[in-house]
């Protein structure tokens, strides 16, 4: 068996995830040793898109027709498709809930008019999984070096890695940190996917949720808890939205509708 062939691609996003792969300077030679890199535009202009890939790493959200076309091509030629970074996994900040529906209203709010982007027709920014089968995810905004290397290591061994299904709080407790929520601060630890190693709470900064929502999140209780600590629903929704992606956005819209219903009834 030869080396696994890989490609690293970017759709709509800041390219920070690709950059963080390039930032693995001490390990790059090792990575190039275990993988045959067929496409990584940020690192080299020479690329070969004609061969099938064992693993494709894709960052960025699907935000244009061109993104979608490219994603479909990548999916077609890759055995394993890995979404890397918040945009690819959850939709990114560009997909955040802003309280205006349909999405074109959000688009106009940001760009001023409907035909502002001319490269390719725009789409409601969505994670890769909204369009194609995603085999593994590595969240983060941007992704972190260590989790990336661990993931790459497993993929090289033919193992499909799994993202933790538990929240940042677990890692925060392993590190013996004091709980910021108990101190009355907004910390998104309980509703955010672990994997980062609780970096921010370890520095006494509340989790901002950049690893995205944990599937099993009890965000309604999170809101109630923060409200009991004196935060307004508006403040909480803003925090929950930034890295909430498309799915939490839908939940927040429902929650707010329910609150309004309660007020009217």
């Amino acid at each position: 068996m030869g080396k696994p062939k890989i490609g690293i691609y970017g759709l709509t996003g800041c390219a920070g995830d690709q950059l963080n792969i390039l930032n693995c300077e001490d390990e790059l030679l090792k990575l190039f040793d275990i993988f045959e890199v067929k496409s990584f535009v940020m690192a080299s202009r020479s690329k070969d898109e004609s061969v099938p890939l064992d693993v494709a790493f894709v960052e960025g959200s699907v935000s244009t027709e061109k993104d979608l076309e490219e994603l479909k091509k990548i999916r077609q030629k890759s055995k394993i498709l890995v979404a890397i970074g918040h945009c690819a996994v959850f939709g990114g900040v560009q997909s955040m809930y802003l309280g205006c529906e349909p999405w074109i209203e959000r688009y106009k709010k940001v760009y001023g008019r409907e035909d502002a982007v001319t490269i390719s027709p725009p789409l409601d920014p969505k994670p890769l999984s909204a369009y194609v089968k995603v085999d593994a995810v590595l969240p983060g905004c941007p992704i972190e070096k260590e989790p990336f290397l661990k993931m790459a290591g497993l993929l090289a061994q033919g193992v499909i890695p799994k993202n933790p299904d538990y929240p940042v709080c677990a890692e925060c407790k392993w590190k013996e940190n004091e709980c910021l929520l108990l101190k009355g601060e907004i910390c998104l630890g309980p509703i955010t996917s672990a994997g980062c190693g609780a970096i921010c709470p370890s520095l006494n900064i509340g989790c901002i949720g950049c690893w995205g929502p944990i599937e099993d999140e009890n965000f309604a209780s999170g809101i109630a808890l923060l409200e009991s600590k004196g935060y307004t629903l508006d403040e909480i929704v803003k925090r929950f939205s930034i890295f909430g992606g498309t799915e939490r956005g839908e939940k927040l819209a429902k929650y707010i509708a329910k609150v309004k219903e309660g007020h009217n009834g």
Partner: protein, 348 residues
């Protein structure tokens, strides 16, 4: 069990002298709380009550590598270190005794066992705060599970010897200890009476297993489940929680596969997820009920005691107030002002 007396000024030199048995760890301040840390004993805070994470971390570390795979072969791996841990209170030592039961009685865990054997345990007395309830769980004093146990009186320590190792340690440091007098015994008895009167949690744990069993279908579990964040904090801070997960990690730098185990929690959805995608405890309420039935009923029938030592860590750690006390209050119809009990969470 032999008992000696030690002058207060001797405690730091004494603890420093124990470096010959391994790293000396004790409670030090972290923010408003405490953690066990490897520091100079001068920095140990003898007034520390409960550490953020209990002493289980020395015997079942948060994360540890148990096997390595390289060049086609498996090797067992252990990071076992010789340590002296100072400052464990009776509840902490009771919890370690429960760990002993769990990790050695039926299936002996070699990693746990070697960690335990490499560790000297030096207990320290405490005075309860408003969250302590070891008096209710019958764990406020301890007779076994330590090498030495220090009781801090006003002007001296009384030192109980709990093992041959502890005896040897004191025998080699006879200049630091003295024999006890009748006066010392009197002081100790008075101190105990004072301590017994300091417990403030006004609840009864009598007949609790029966009550918890009978409450299997109570709607209290759903109410709690609605507020539970499933953050796993309760299980991480609980000194008797023993669960871990096993995962493989490939280290590309060393070209080797590590099989690690790390603390895990029955509060996490995946804990009860089995092959085929079925989850037999999908609802948070079911997970909570499992935890509390395990602690207060299941463990009792298996090992003869409940797996709660009254340390109060869950009481001070759960962001939504789910803990042994608020649950007992709810199940026994006592007044309960925990967040989960008084808040209507708008689930969508």
């Amino acid at each position: 069990m032999r008992v000696f007396k030690m002058k207060k000024g001797n405690i730091v030199p004494f603890l420093r002298s124990l470096e010959e048995f391994g790293e000396v760890w004790g409670p030090v301040k972290k923010g408003d709380n405490y953690v066990y840390a490897h520091e100079d004993p001068e920095k140990f805070d003898l007034s520390a009550l409960r550490t953020l994470i209990p002493a289980k971390k020395f015997f079942l570390p948060q994360k540890s590598t148990i096997l390595k795979f390289k060049n086609g072969n498996w090797y067992t791996h252990s990071d076992c270190k010789k340590r002296v841990i100072f400052g464990l209170h009776p509840c902490d030592i009771h919890a370690l005794n429960i760990y002993d039961e769990f990790y050695t009685r039926v299936y002996e865990d070699p990693y746990y066992k070697s960690n335990k054997e490499a560790t000297l345990i030096i207990g320290l007395s405490c005075l309860p705060d408003e969250h302590c309830f070891c008096n209710l769980t019958d764990t406020s004093t301890v007779e076994k599970g330590f090498d030495l146990f220090f009781t801090e009186l006003e002007d001296k320590f009384l030192v109980w010897v709990g093992s041959p190792r502890g005896d040897d340690i004191l025998a080699k440091r006879s200049d630091m200890v003295e024999d006890i007098t009748k006066e010392d015994i009197k002081d100790y008895i008075e101190w105990r009476k004072r301590r017994e009167n300091m417990f403030k949690v006004d609840l009864s744990f009598t007949g609790l297993p029966e009550i918890v069993s009978a409450s299997y279908d109570s709607d209290i579990w759903d109410k709690m489940g609605s507020a539970c964040l499933s953050c796993g904090t309760c299980t991480m801070v609980c000194p008797t929680c023993t669960c871990f997960d096993v995962e493989d990690e490939y280290d590309i730098r060393a070209d080797e596969m590590n099989r690690n185990r790390k603390w895990y929690s029955c509060m996490f959805r995946e804990y009860s997820l089995v092959a085929g995608g079925h989850n037999f405890r999908e609802a948070r309420a079911e997970r909570l009920r499992l935890w509390y039935t395990h602690k207060l009923v299941g463990f009792m029938s298996e090992y003869g005691d409940p797996a709660c030592v009254g340390c109060g860590r869950c009481v001070v750690s759960c962001p939504v107030g789910i803990n042994v006390l608020s649950i007992v209050r709810a199940l026994t119809g006592e007044k309960n002002d925990a967040f989960w009990a008084k808040t209507e969470v708008k689930q969508i």
